[in-house]
Symmetry: C2
Subunit: 400 residues, 2 copies
């Protein structure tokens, strides 16, 4: 939900809260800067920065890392950097696996464990029990590695309400209106920033923004090819959640008004052409007891072998995605796309088809079509990264 202009009165203390976050914002994941440099960049006075940094050192978010040489002459500054011994936990429940990881403030994924398992149709309670076992192991590993957790996040492939911690619906898991508030509580017990629930495509889009292709772009449409076609819109280096809180639902943009009925009740949606089932079906790769992963592998083999039917199916998917991408380009004035999830496997065929169709439908409009290189850890990284950002945006919560 886009935040309504809450009539919150400005208090004197707000200024300090804002400036504490401002100082942290001057330090990227890898940056080292002295108090004087921070003062110059932020526009704050040296006196204010000194005072703010003292507080931030107390929170443990910041640490001093020896001296820095600025100009040739004069007293050297004391280097300041984000403390790599603080971090957040990210978790992901997906159709074929569970994954949990710990990301530190410097953006390093310090621990990452994945458990393959088919969670489709399992009772949420059973899945969550497995997840918590995995999370406990990961927390222990992080602790052994010297990382103290500040918070966490959980990503699921479905429509979620972050404020209440409920999964409204996750069709591919078979979940419907599942409350996860307790599960979130148990994920990172006793940390100052409670774990939050998020959509898997949104988390992956954010991981891309903070630690992947998106850093150089700032604004882009992230397309996630999973069982469905998910999407996340990043506008001006921020996740755009739209009017109702669930923007970027690319899978059900209409690309063919006269096309096939979709499971959503609509007609001619992207998913009816570019969803996994649609592609595999059109390519003639039948279910036959095989897993989705196995069938996708068969598809890539067919593509490599030059199988005409497979190539046409993937090309058709690329064309459908192009129509949706143009709609995004026009409606929210985007000019970049990042493709992730299983689309990466199809890139050799999908990329050219997408490029070509974009050039026909809206020449010159899309400047950059890129494929993600974050791999399978995107959602976990994004979920943990969001918790890290929450901490860096609200350092005052860590002060007495």
């Amino acid at each position: 939900m886009t935040s309504e202009a809450t009539p919150a009165p400005g208090r004197v203390g707000d200024v300090r809260r804002r400036n504490l976050a401002l100082v942290l914002g001057c330090l990227g994941p890898d940056a080292v800067a002295s108090r004087a440099e921070i003062a110059a960049v932020s526009g704050l006075t040296k006196a204010s920065v000194s005072s703010l940094v003292a507080d931030l050192l107390e929170t443990g978010l910041l640490e001093e890392v020896g001296v820095t040489r600025g100009g040739e002459r004069g007293r050297p500054g004391v280097g300041l950097a984000l403390n790599p011994r603080r971090g957040a936990l990210g978790a992901e429940v997906n159709v074929d696996y569970l994954a949990v990881g710990v990301l530190d403030l410097r953006g390093q994924l310090r621990v990452h464990e994945t458990v393959e398992a088919s969670n489709q149709g399992r009772a949420p309670g059973d899945v969550l029990a497995d997840l918590h076992g995995l999370a406990a192991r990961v927390r222990d590993a992080a602790s052994a590695d010297g990382v103290e957790l500040l918070g966490g996040g959980l990503a699921v492939p479905g429509i979620v309400d972050a404020t209440s911690g409920r999964v409204a619906t996750a069709p591919n898991l078979g979940w419907d209106d599942v409350p996860l508030a307790d599960a979130l509580e148990d994920l990172v017990p006793g940390t100052p920033f409670a774990a939050e629930l998020s959509n898997e495509a949104d988390s992956a889009a954010l991981a891309e923004l903070w630690y992947g292709r998106g850093r150089a772009l700032g604004s882009y449409l992230y397309l996630s090819g999973e069982v469905g076609v998910g999407g996340g819109l990043v506008i001006g280096s921020q996740l755009f959640t739209g009017a109702g809180g669930h923007a970027g639902e690319v899978g059900h943009v209409v690309v063919d008004p006269g096309g096939r009925r979709c499971s959503c009740g609509g007609r001619g949606c992207v998913e009816t052409v570019a969803g996994q089932e649609a592609i595999l079906g059109a390519a003639g790769i039948t279910g036959g007891g095989s897993t989705t992963t196995g069938r996708l592998a068969a598809l890539t083999r067919s593509l490599d072998a030059g199988d005409d039917r497979a190539i046409r199916a993937v090309k058709r998917a690329g064309e459908a995605l192009a129509v949706a991408v143009v709609a995004a380009a026009r409606l929210v004035d985007l000019s970049a796309v990042v493709l992730g999830g299983h689309f990466g496997l199809l890139r050799d065929v999908l990329g050219p088809a997408l490029d070509e169709t974009l050039d026909d439908l809206a020449p010159g409009r899309i400047a950059a079509v890129t494929f993600s290189d974050l791999g399978a850890s995107a959602a976990v990284t994004g979920a943990a990264g969001a918790a890290v950002r929450r901490a860096l945006a609200a350092p005052h919560a860590l002060l007495g």
Copy 2:
């Protein structure tokens, strides 16, 4: 352009600036409230509100309007309301007319004058000279009516850069890269808030938000049927300008990937089906020396007469708009649409076609399709309203 997180240091004075605007924000166009009521609504203390109101009275934005009865007992409060003797000027250059008006802080359009003239292909300088003559008359009328101007705005049917005051391109005027900084300066000379340039569809969308259908909606896609098909996205009661600053360009969303080439170089765009020329052409209403307004009148006569070709052309436009509306619904999670401009003339045929197609392509997704009732003054009202909002958001600029 979505504002990058400018590293602006928070200063002590920011708190007061914010709270001054907060107090004004508690007073809608028609609202009257006492200091005590404002304190209760805003969360500020009575003492702070008293102090803030004293400053605001000094700016002239606020005025005392007699006593108010709160509860049954106790001292009555002093009513506070926005001062209707302050306002802003809105101007519009369009293909068939020039218009200038003055809107007061209470949202009343106190003066509004329109001059019919075909501005297509005229030199920008000539058009602007006419506009300034009109603006001078309107300023005099406002002054005679006791309204003091705080600022202004100018809306044009094209892509603009508000920060530099340039029109990048306005195809239907035949303008290309026209600098309007001087013209804006002359529009409201000597006012504290400089006039700003805006897109006509965006201004109309904002007028809808502040003074029309949008008040009840908060988030919607505004569709403006002019020579082209313009659009404005309002998300969470704010104009959404997207990644590049020009969101809502509905006219070139692809609705038929195999469709006709568009003047933009693309294919199957909304405008190739729902633009004025496309509808008139498909309806068989030829140019024949007649003005666009005349041809549109002929179209509505044909519709009223039950002419099949005309009805099919408008229905086809409704279907095309539906595809674009679904794209917006999915991508930015909208559920409401407001139709303005010349679409209002076609509402009897266009509305049902739109509803029906929406129900086929995305059943239940769009909750509200409404037609604007602001008429021809939408863009002028929006341009002036934006200036009013700027003043109400930055009252400190009016203090010594």
